[in-house]
Point group: C2
Chain length 471, copies 2
């Protein structure tokens, strides 16, 4: 097998070999039943480690392209679905964009292990014990259904919910009407709709790392480019073709760093991007989790209609609701609503009913107060553990709310190896490089998910592993 | 304004002019504030009817590109969102694909009027009075929440629901396991996931008209081509590049024709497409609504793993649930699940819980029996009205179930004009050309949505309008 490998490319050897092997199959050069050269031979021919070959073959087997016959070798599988899979690079770009970069392999492992019995030290979700389960059940049981509300929904979502969200947002300083609100199936879907609905294909998504957005691939899948800035108000130089795009920011309790921008910083960002005529996506899903007062949303000063504001009930009430919202100028909301109708005919009416009833009830405020207290206690508890184990080898900021501590080790020891080592010990980590490429100093710790004994045990195991590496 | 219009193109003049005007704006040739020539002048310059110009200008105004200043003319709007909208043709292809063809203007009107007080003679939805509202409420109120089920969901959906669906599908002759089932937010989303997840960009979607699929644009938006066949088992000739694709079919109670394929026809389809190594998407959302016994699903004989089977609770229980399913080989289900996670982190847990409890309860069977009886009565009632008004000017098949009568007028009088005329009289029609391009003989009548007095009145108004046209 002859392959030109480019050792200076940004694309890993894994991905280059993987792609070329798929090409062979797509182009009919390796029809079903073809026997592949041995692992040893492939490694020799390509001049790479045998482990790389094994990784590629394992991946192709897992995906059903190849099959092993015991004692006889590896074959191209007889699988009629093959014709379904893409021949064009284009598809790969869109759906598999970067899927074989190391960080995504980590995410696949995280997804796999998140449903298993394991100590989850980085999970971005409330512990089941912190969810207002009883209160939700009460609200659920109080709902009386109207047959007109359980048919296909209005494109923008149930009016009662949009109304409740409009009222809810007044606390963030946002004055808006139900017409400018779109109900989405979680804030993630909002990003998906924006990506497919509002941007031309080669747009640029600007952001400041570390950011949640680096762990997603939806913009790349739609043919967009992510562009990291050193600072959100950095003076970007762009060619005309790059001008199309967005600035994405999480100004309150950033995932993963926990940072809260000051009012002045918010103001600067708003001015900067509005002057550039580049819209801002303000992702505000953590705002209700701040331990003390925070500045108003950027959206609250948006007289130019330049800000798309995202919110969600996932981080405060229940991720399973799949209820979030976008606030934007009406034509934008209409456009996104039209696309949502083409995707899934709207969000679940039952979730919408429950969310509307919940937000209009006193449950929400009572729950939030309690939740913030609980999170504060967990943060203090976790900080004490960090102080005990890591005081001379790492630093961190005192959490101001939310779920996360962005723990920085003096040494760049947060590697895939550390991740795998802890996995073996029954601890699931969220390495910093998921949110900040090539950063091996940071871990995203979450004090929101694991129980206190699990936090204690997990951090202890982490400390042992780290100490074994540093001494 | 100089524009080369192509009068032999498949693209309408409307769309050609619309596109060129947008180009002017995208390319900075018409910056914000530019004053446009008068309507009269534009019509003259382009050699088209003034009404076409007015339509284009109205559309561009509605979309916020243009604005009128009273007494002064039409201007390119000052709107910072402008930079968001696409400069590339690509975006237009993807999202606005064909959006300005006459049929879609009709759909936009339908969507707009479906939320208004109007007699809806074609709506593809159960009447609110036919929904099992009380029983759903009962089930809802019986649900006790487990905090572990209201967090982020497993990629394929709640195990309990997948299990309930597997049991449910045995009635269709389908033996499958929960591992090969993906829960989706309605069958529409399944098509979206297939379109973005399994097909390379220039794939072909084969289907037999009339079909629901002609009223959707999601495949075209993803860069695919729809290809109508005269018969589902037609011998297609395709070049290698066209080979990638799917055959889409609604073998039971086709939307809109109501046809039910025989067992032999199903068998032929299966053999035909499986031999071609082109997968089949079997859309079976209406199967439980047949008035008498029907052949098993195509999926039930699918030993080759060549069929993607779609189901939904929208047509039987509640569209607002947004619960549907895909049954497919496990690697395909895994791939679609992974994409769904990237889109919206899974379907609403509350809908999933409700659906699982509902399907496992005796409510479902009781409701379905009652529903079929009600639909049968409505069908008979509607047929009597047709016999009274249309016996010598139209033909139709006796409905075998579902929602629809595919009414064929001898004369091609089902035009946009008829649609608009009835709209004025307070009656919303679903013209046949939405499901079968260029067909002006058919109407999709629905006996499922309007109340009996509304059906009577609506069909009477339709008959008057039709008679005025034919005499
Ligand atoms: C910053 C940020 N935005 C959006 C989301 C997605 O939330 P939802 O569950 O509302 O889709 C998350 C969750 O991980 C997040 O951290
Ligand atoms: C044939 C067919 N498939 C799929 C759908 C979409 O149904 P759902 O509400 O499950 O997305 C419809 C509804 O109009 C339909 O008629």
């Amino acid at each position: 097998m002859e392959i030109q490998l480019d050792r200076h490319s940004q694309t890993t050897l894994f991905e280059q070999i993987y792609t070329r092997m798929l090409d062979r199959m797509y182009q009919g050069e390796w029809p079903p039943g073809t026997k592949l050269p041995s692992q040893r031979k492939l490694a020799e021919q390509l001049g790479v480690n045998r482990s790389t070959i094994i990784d590629v073959l394992d991946e192709l087997k897992a995906e059903g392209w190849l099959e092993s016959k015991t004692g006889s070798g590896t074959y191209v599988a007889h699988n009629s679905w093959q014709t379904l899979f893409p021949r064009q690079y284009h598809w790969k770009e869109r759906i598999r964009a970067g899927i074989h970069q190391p960080n995504l392999q980590t995410i696949q492992l995280i997804n796999e292990y998140e449903t298993k019995e394991i100590i989850r030290l980085g999970t971005g979700e409330l512990s089941p014990s912190l969810l207002p389960t009883k209160q939700l059940e009460e609200v659920l049981q109080s709902i009386s259904l109207d047959p007109r509300t359980i048919g296909y929904s209005e494109p923008k979502g149930h009016k009662a919910l949009r109304h409740a969200v409009a009222v809810h947002l007044q606390k963030r300083g946002i004055q808006t009407s139900p017409d400018c609100i779109l109900i989405v199936s979680g804030a993630l879907q909002a990003l998906q709709l924006i990506s497919l609905g509002l941007l031309p294909q080669h747009s640029t998504i600007y952001y400041e790392a570390p950011s949640y957005i680096e762990s997603l691939h939806l913009f790349q899948s739609a043919g967009m480019r992510l562009s990291r800035l050193r600072s959100g108000a950095e003076n970007i130089t762009y060619s005309k073709s790059q001008k199309h795009g967005l600035f994405y920011t999480i100004p309150t309790l950033n995932n993963p760093s926990g940072t809260i921008l000051t009012e002045a910083e918010r103001h600067d960002l708003y001015q900067h991007w509005t002057n550039l005529q580049i819209p801002i996506v303000e992702d505000d899903v953590y705002n209700e989790l701040a331990f003390s007062a925070i500045p108003p949303a950027i959206k609250s000063v948006d007289t130019a209609g330049n800000v798309l504001y995202l919110g969600s009930l996932s981080k405060t009430v229940s991720p399973g609701l799949r209820i979030g919202w976008v606030v934007a100028p009406e034509p934008v909301v209409d456009r996104l609503a039209d696309i949502k109708m083409q995707f899934d005919y709207g969000a679940s009416s039952f979730s919408q009913l429950l969310a509307a009833t919940w937000l209009a009830s006193p449950h929400h405020e009572t729950h939030m107060q309690q939740l913030r207290e609980n999170l504060q206690q967990r943060a203090t508890f976790t900080e004490a553990l960090l102080a005990k184990h890591f005081h001379n080898i790492a630093v961190w900021q005192k959490p101001k709310g939310g779920f996360y501590i962005w723990l920085r080790f003096h040494q760049p020891l947060v590697t895939k190896a550390l991740f795998l080592k802890l996995l073996q010990k029954g601890v699931l980590l969220h390495p910093g490089y998921l949110y900040d490429r090539d950063n091996h100093h940071h871990l995203r710790l979450s004090f929101a998910y694991a129980s206190l004994p699990e936090l204690e045990k997990g951090i202890d195991l982490l400390a042992q592993a780290v100490k074994a590496m540093t001494t």
